[in-house]
């Protein structure tokens, strides 16, 4: 008879009690998704791997601060985003709560883009456009579409108000639409 797989909460509680295998099980379960988030945040795969490893180390050290009633992955993704922010800071300061200069959406920008290209080509160009976004916008895109977090979970992960999440996402999408139209 196969035993039921322990959920994240049970594994976290086990890890806190000193069960190393329980934490290793969390690593096995979430590293794939965490890498996808990190890869969206960072310029290359090597940097993304470094972020994943750093995030797991920070998670292990800070496991006592994790609220077991909250879902585990948003907490972990938040740690990875902070690790990425530390990397970005070495290049230029990044503040997730900084919404940047106001960009008023034009009627053209909110309208339907007339893109005369194949879907594959559009996706490829979209990838390029995402890579060119401001770091805080890329973080929100990664958490929303790679990690599939809710707005509330993104707000918790980035420690910003939920309205800032909406604004970052809105502006990121505007920038992407413009980027696609310009290419």
């Amino acid at each position: 008879m196969k035993l039921a797989e322990p959920d994240d909460r049970e594994l976290v509680l086990g890890s806190r009690s000193g069960d190393e295998a329980a934490f290793d099980r969390l690593v096995e379960r979430h590293t794939g998704n965490l890498y996808r988030v990190a890869r969206r945040l960072m310029a290359d795969s090597q940097e993304a791997e470094e972020i994943v490893q750093e995030a797991w180390l920070r998670a292990w050290r800070g496991l006592s601060s994790y609220r077991v009633t909250a879902p585990f992955f948003p907490w972990l993704a938040g740690i990875a985003t902070n690790a990425a922010r530390d990397q970005w800071r070495r290049r230029r300061p990044v503040d997730f709560s900084d919404l940047g200069p106001e960009e008023f959406p034009s009627s053209e920008a909110t309208g339907v883009p007339e893109l005369q290209m194949e879907r594959g080509e559009v996706i490829q160009r979209l990838g390029v456009a995402v890579a060119r976004l401001r770091p805080e916008q890329r973080a929100v895109i990664a958490l929303r579409y790679e990690a599939e977090l809710t707005y509330q979970e993104i707000a918790i992960a980035l420690s910003i108000p939920i309205n800032s999440v909406r604004t970052h996402l809105h502006r990121a999408k505007l920038a992407l639409r413009r980027g696609l139209e310009e290419q």
Binding site: G32, R39, L57, V112, E146
Partner: protein
Amino acid sequence: MTNDWLDELLRELSVEAPPADLVIRVRHRLAKARRRARWVSRASSLGATGLATAAAAILMQPLRTVPSGPLLGDLGRILTAVAAAPGTVLMELPLQVHGWAQTLESGMLLTWVSLALPAAAALAYLLRVDVTEDGAAL
């Protein structure tokens, strides 16, 4: 095409798959961090034990010449006195401790304090109750 179209594309946008050995590498790094943490913990314990032993050794030498105080006196006599008149003994205790402490040299008093502080910290650590943020004791 609407915003839903962009949402759909963003969901479709895929990054390359994680390297096959990434989980193993994360585990290795964690294992290394755990080993380091254990080493630091053991080294701290050994250091504390060494300090406590040294302090005790320093303390034992001059202690033989110190007049018996409330902590070193005849335990049976003290217990009898407590049983007979607990209130009086309790009232006199601070004075007796104070008088006894005055007979000690300042260096020795420092040694007592240096022994008492880690002992109190160790006791507090042993008695602590871990509580999760949802209120459950671990």
